[in-house]
Symmetry: C2
Subunit: 345 residues, 2 copies
């Protein structure tokens, strides 16, 4: 006899991956790669993505697509990968000790795109899915890195992400926005990478929002204050990731179109190349995806395709006070409540 | 009554730092910085080093000197620092667990210099000294990174280093040359950073040559085969470090002078900028000095002054077969016995 309370309660089965989980997610990741590449080629108008298929010795492989010397993009890559192996690397096992001693499976899509025009922002997206013995989880995010920034673009970007998150849970956007500010932070520069976006990791069948390493962070405190959500089923989380990935084009392309024809000169170009140095510093010193790739003998060229085509370092550069460059530092490289930004601020 | 055997045996006192160790070594490190800067300004002929003095909140400080837009140097820095604090960072404590719970003192000089001409090699030097409770040690090294390489330069560089090492112990050069090949290695590229030089760490009053993390490495095997040297006194090791640092100008300047006026075009410049990307990858992903600096809240601008002024990344770049660029990969980015290189090879 079924108890009344069970009618709307998912069975335990709903909190573990279905038998065809790997096929479904890897197919989805490939489809997302296709859709996004098509959309970005339309935006670019000149160049097409070149594809490389590759195999990984220990198991799995991927397809890397790179666009270069375009009308809009100076260089960018959109990667799909699906890898498996005997054991997750230590950095991940530290966060998910239950995975120790188990084989792992991981699939995902990740992209970084560097426009040529310094008024257009660099964009990054990565969504991924893991299974390892008794555990499985989704992770990823999207964040925007402007050089000559516009508050209205940051607000538009965040509002689009919030709308997507709100369809799934009202606490997703606020929690994952804080997590993003915390994750894409260059400690040695005391700067955020850009205007942020959303980021999350280790989202599984449990109710906890924040699962990051720093339990004293603002994101962790926020998650504690909210408390545990009702447990999320595998299908719910897959559907959430799907909506996130599909919001990439609507969140980015309108900003790109608005800024792509802005005139610029050597000053703006030099500052863009200098700021791209921060992207390199973040990806090589902090980024978990890069470190995971290098630690698991990933394909180096696919991992490091996130690095910009041309970069400058300058000892002790300081923006001139009250310049547009100073505005980037003073307002845009600090966590801000972009969703509630008002035009007349 | 003194036993006969004791006459030539240093007392235990000789294996611990003298009372004025910190003053003597930091003064020496500053003097080396002065001598090297003077020599490099002469080589450059156009630009002078600009000095910044800085203080570290937790204790200590340094003086950073940067040269830019010179006749020979595109950008380079020569740094002196002297820092102290409550506890060494975890990465060092793992190697020297005896230092756990003790205050530390560290002083050193480090430099990276990037010439403009692609036929002239980048040079790096770093010598350092640590005290932490019951332990003290010297470490450091020097290595050469050519873009368009010359075997005779690599041989000259290594022979100069060997001569310096041989004055102190016949096993220093062979052991520390292997350690250098091992340390300045980019695993994700399967390349050495350049043609190497010498590198060592944790040289203290004991007789062991190799004290690195990888006990299965070639350097570790070589050191085991040699066995323990007679214990080195503090004065002996200080004198060794001193000779190493003073051999910087004679090891590098003649190579620089020979190559500085070689004509080059866009092809060579583009390849130089591309190869500089490897320098960035090494320093941000692997370099112990960089990681130590960032972990101990060092001065970011002084730590990252090692990064080149302009850098290029290119997805899946491959040198053309039989080109000078291919020669770099095929011969110079692999460990070689440069000391015994023969011109008619």
């Amino acid at each position: 006899m079924t108890k009344v309370a069970d009618i709307n309660t998912p069975s335990e089965q709903a909190f573990i991956p279905p038998a065809d989980s790997r096929t479904r997610i890897s197919q989805f990741m490939k489809q997302i790669q296709d859709e996004i590449c098509t959309g970005l080629e339309e935006l670019d108008g000149v160049s097409k993505f070149q594809e490389d298929n590759w195999q990984r010795e220990e198991g799995g492989g991927g397809r890397t697509r790179v666009i270069r010397d375009g009308g809009y993009f100076e260089q960018g890559g959109v990667n799909f990968s699906e890898v498996w192996g005997k054991q997750l690397p230590p950095t991940i096992l530290k966060q998910r000790p239950e995975a120790e001693g188990h084989e792992f499976y991981a699939t995902g899509t990740s992209m970084v795109l560097h426009p040529r025009n310094p008024y257009a922002p660099t964009i990054h997206l990565n969504y991924r899915y893991f299974e390892a013995g008794p555990v499985w989880w989704f992770g990823g995010g999207i964040d925007l890195t402007p050089y000559y920034p516009f508050a209205e673009d940051a607000a538009y970007f965040h509002r689009t992400l919030k709308e997507t998150c709100d369809k799934h849970h009202a606490e997703y956007y606020p929690a994952f926005k804080l997590w993003c500010d915390e994750y894409f932070y260059l400690k040695h520069r005391q700067e955020t990478r850009g205007v942020g976006g959303i980021f999350f990791d280790y989202q599984d069948g449990q109710g906890q929002l924040y699962r990051g390493p720093d339990l004293n962070s603002i994101a962790a405190e926020y998650s504690q204050k909210v408390g545990d959500l009702p447990r999320r089923t595998w299908e719910e989380l897959f559907s959430f990731i799907g909506d996130c990935a599909r919001s990439f084009l609507p969140a980015y392309v309108p900003i790109a179109q608005k800024r792509q024809n802005t005139e610029y000169g050597d000053r703006e170009r030099n500052f863009q190349l200098y700021r791209r140095g921060r992207y390199v510093e973040f990806n090589l010193v902090y980024d978990r995806g890069t470190i995971f790739g290098l630690q698991t003998n990933g394909r180096t060229e696919s991992i490091l395709m996130s690095l910009p085509p041309l970069v400058r370092w300058e000892y002790c550069y300081q923006p001139e006070p009250n310049s547009p460059e100073a505005q980037l530092y003073n307002t845009f490289l600090k966590p801000q409540d972009w969703v509630n930004w008002q035009e007349n601020n």
